[in-house]
C-alpha cells in the first residue's frame, strides 16, 4: 500500500474518531457532571441528603461502569436505533460511547467534588447562599482543575472505546487497524495508525494537564492541593488545638 493510498483512508479515519470522541465527550461531560455532583449532594451528610436517590444513581452508575463496552454496544442497539435510526456508522456509535462515558465521568466528578473543602461550602451557606449557589460558586469552580483532569481521562478512554465501535462499522482509527492491519496484514498502515493514536492521546493528555495545572496555579497553589476537609463529614473534634 502506498502513502497516496493510505492518506485518504487515514484522514477519513482520524476525522471519524475525532467526531465520535468529540461528541461523546461533550455528552459525557454534560451528563456526568450533574450526576457526579448529585451523587455527592445526596450522599449521607450531603447538602440534599436523599438515600433513595443516591442509591439508585449509584447503582445505575456502577452497573453501567462494570459492563464491557462491547456488550453495552450490543445491549443498546434498540436504543441506538430509536435515537439515530440506525445501528451502524459514526452517529450510531456515539450513543453507546456517550452512554458508557457518562457514568465513567460521573464517578470522576464525584471524587473531585468530594475533595472540595467543606468549610468553603459552609462559608457560602453562612452568607445565605442556596444549594444551587454552593454548586455554582464553590463545588464546580473549586474542583475545576480536577474536573478537567477527569475529562482528559474520559477522552482517552473514549478513544479506546471508539476503536471497538469502529469494528461495527463506525469507521475511525481502530477500524483501520483491525481491517487493514489485522485482516490484510498491512503492517505499515497499522503502525502508522498506532503512531497517530499515540500522538493524539499524548497531545490530549498534555493539553488537559496543562489546562488543569494553569487553573490550579491561578488559584495560587504552589504545590499539590492542601489537605482538604472532606465535604461529607464535619470533622468531629476539629478544635482549635489541632490547627497547628
Amino acid at each position: 500500500m502506498t502513502w497516496s493510498e493510505m492518506q485518504p483512508l487515514l484522514s477519513q479515519a482520524c476525522w471519524d474518531t475525532l467526531y465520535m470522541v468529540g461528541w461523546s465527550t461533550l455528552i459525557a461531560v454534560l451528563g456526568g457532571l450533574p450526576l457526579g455532583i448529585l451523587l455527592v449532594l445526596t450522599d449521607r451528610g450531603g447538602l440534599v441528603h436523599n438515600a433513595a436517590v443516591n442509591k439508585v444513581i449509584g447503582q445505575i452508575v456502577n452497573i453501567a461502569r462494570s459492563l464491557p463496552f462491547i456488550i453495552l454496544m450490543v445491549a443498546l442497539m434498540g436504543f441506538t436505533r430509536w435515537i439515530t435510526g440506525t445501528t451502524i456508522g459514526r452517529e450510531a456509535a456515539i450513543v453507546p460511547l456517550a452512554t458508557g462515558a457518562i457514568p465513567f465521568y460521573a464517578r470522576l466528578v464525584e471524587t473531585s467534588v468530594r475533595e472540595v473543602d467543606g468549610g468553603l461550602v459552609e462559608a457560602v451557606q453562612a452568607m445565605g447562599g442556596s444549594t444551587w449557589k454552593v454548586v455554582r460558586s464553590v463545588l464546580v469552580p473549586e474542583s475545576l482543575p480536577s474536573l478537567i483532569s477527569g475529562a482528559t481521562t474520559t477522552v482517552v478512554a473514549l478513544i479506546g472505546y471508539s476503536a471497538m465501535a469502529g469494528t461495527v462499522g463506525a469507521g475511525g482509527l481502530g477500524d483501520i487497524a483491525v481491517r487493514y492491519g489485522y485482516q490484510r496484514f498491512e503492517t505499515g498502515l497499522m503502525w502508522i495508525t498506532v503512531s497517530i493514536l499515540a500522538v493524539v492521546i499524548s497531545l490530549i493528555q498534555f493539553a488537559g494537564d496543562l489546562a488543569a495545572r494553569r487553573l490550579h496555579r491561578r488559584g495560587g497553589h504552589p504545590g499539590p492541593a492542601p489537605r482538604p476537609r472532606p465535604l461529607r463529614t464535619a470533622a468531629p473534634g476539629a478544635g482549635p488545638t489541632d490547627a497547628r
Binding site: 445565605g128 449557589k133 473549586e142 476539629a238 482549635p240
Partner: protein, 344 residues
C-alpha cells in the same frame, strides 16, 4: 442582640451520642464584643454554628436581632428562604478563612453581594470600599493563595461585612495567626465594633483574645456556660475563674495571723488613693503582697493582694470599707461572696 435559651445540641455518630451543647443560655447585647472561651471540645464551635443555624439545634431557641431563627428553619437540612435571608444579615469569619481559591480577593468579597442579588457595578464598588476599610485596597486582584494569613483573614472580615450585618460571628478567627497578626486583627475587630456599631460574638481558646477586645465573656465547659458577665463584673467577682485567668495576682502571705485580701479595681476607682485612705481611716498597717495594672477590654484594671493584720473577724469593717469604695474584694480562705460591685 443574640439570645439563646436552653440551646442543646446532640450529635449522633455511629450510634454514639455526643452532647456538645447542654442547655446554653447566652445573651449578647447590642454593640458589645462578647467572647466565649473554653478548651477544645467544650462546644464553642457548636454554639456559634447554632447561632446562624449552620448546625440545627436539638432543642432550644436562637434569637438574633429580634428574629427567632429556630422558627425560620425549614424542614430537614435545607435552609428555608427566610433563614437564608437572615443569615445574609449575619457575618461570619472562620479560623481557616475559607476563601475561594478560584476567585480573586475582590470576587471573594463580592460573593455575598451576588447572593443578595446586587448589580455588578454595585458589587464592585462595595467590595472595593470594604477592602479599603480592612486595609487591603491594593490587593483586590490578587488570589487568596498570594496573601499572608493576616491578609486572608482581613479578606474574610471584608467578606463577612459585605451584607452590612449587624452581627459578626467569629470562630477562632485568630487561632491560625501569629501573635502580632492576631493583635492587628483584634484591633480591626475592635474598630469595626466601635465605628459600625457591630455586635461581635467571638469564640476563642486564648485568654489574651478576651483580654484584648471583649466587653463581656463566658467560660464554656462540657457544653455548658459555667461563668459569664461583663469583664468588669467578672473581675469584681471573687473566685471568678475567668477573672483569675484574665488577670492573675500573686504574692505569698507573710505568714502569721494576717488576712489576705485580693482587691480588684477598675475605672475611676483605680485612680483614687483607696489604700492609703483605708490605712488612715482604720489606723492599720497594710502590706501589699503583689499588685499589677493592666488593660482589659480597653479599660484600666488593677489587682492587688493585700495583707491586713489579724483574723478575718477583726477585719470585717475595713473589708466592708473596700467594698463600699466600689472595689472587687475577695478574702483568701473564705467562701466567695457574689459581688454586686462591678454590676451596672
Amino acid at each position: 442582640m443574640i439570645t439563646t435559651t436552653g440551646l442543646t445540641k446532640v450529635y449522633r455518630a455511629r450510634g454514639r451520642e455526643i452532647t456538645a451543647l447542654d442547655g446554653v443560655d447566652l445573651h449578647v447585647r447590642e454593640g458589645e464584643v462578647y467572647g466565649v472561651i473554653g478548651r477544645s471540645g467544650a462546644g464553642k464551635s457548636s454554639l456559634i454554628r447554632c447561632v446562624n443555624l449552620l448546625e440545627r439545634p436539638t432543642a432550644g431557641t436562637v434569637t438574633v436581632a429580634g428574629q427567632d431563627l429556630t422558627a425560620l428553619a425549614g424542614r430537614g437540612r435545607r435552609a428555608s428562604r427566610e433563614l437564608r435571608a437572615a443569615r445574609s444579615r449575619t457575618g461570619m469569619v472562620f479560623q481557616h478563612f475559607h476563601l475561594l481559591s478560584s476567585r480573586t480577593v475582590q470576587d471573594n468579597v463580592e460573593l455575598p453581594l451576588e447572593i443578595l442579588g446586587h448589580s455588578r457595578g454595585k458589587r464592585a464598588r462595595k467590595a472595593r470600599e470594604l477592602l479599603e476599610l480592612v486595609g487591603l485596597g491594593e490587593r483586590a486582584t490578587a488570589y487568596p493563595a498570594q496573601l499572608s494569613g493576616g491578609q486572608k483573614q482581613r479578606v474574610g472580615i471584608a467578606r463577612a461585612l459585605a451584607g452590612d450585618p449587624k452581627v459578626l460571628l467569629s470562630d477562632e478567627a485568630t487561632s491560625a495567626l501569629d501573635p502580632k497578626t492576631t493583635r492587628s486583627i483584634l484591633r480591626l475587630l475592635r474598630e469595626l465594633n466601635r465605628e459600625l456599631g457591630l455586635t461581635v460574638l467571638l469564640i476563642t481558646h486564648e485568654m489574651d483574645v478576651v483580654k484584648a477586645v471583649c466587653d463581656s465573656a463566658a467560660l464554656m465547659e462540657n457544653g455548658r456556660i459555667v461563668e459569664s458577665g461583663t469583664v468588669p463584673q467578672l473581675l469584681g467577682t471573687p473566685d471568678s475563674r475567668l477573672a483569675r485567668a484574665l488577670f492573675p495576682v500573686s504574692g505569698d502571705p507573710l505568714g502569721g495571723e494576717g488576712t489576705v485580701v485580693d482587691v480588684t479595681f477598675h475605672g475611676e476607682a483605680a485612680a483614687r488613693p483607696v489604700i492609703s485612705r483605708l490605712s488612715r481611716t482604720y489606723n492599720i498597717d497594710i502590706s501589699i503582697l503583689g499588685a499589677a495594672m493592666d488593660t482589659v477590654g480597653g479599660r484600666q484594671v488593677g489587682r492587688m493582694r493585700l495583707e491586713l493584720p489579724g483574723h478575718y473577724e477583726e477585719n470585717v469593717v475595713p473589708i466592708g470599707f473596700l467594698r463600699e469604695q466600689g472595689l472587687g474584694v475577695q478574702v483568701q480562705g473564705r467562701p466567695a461572696r457574689l459581688a454586686e460591685e462591678g454590676a451596672e
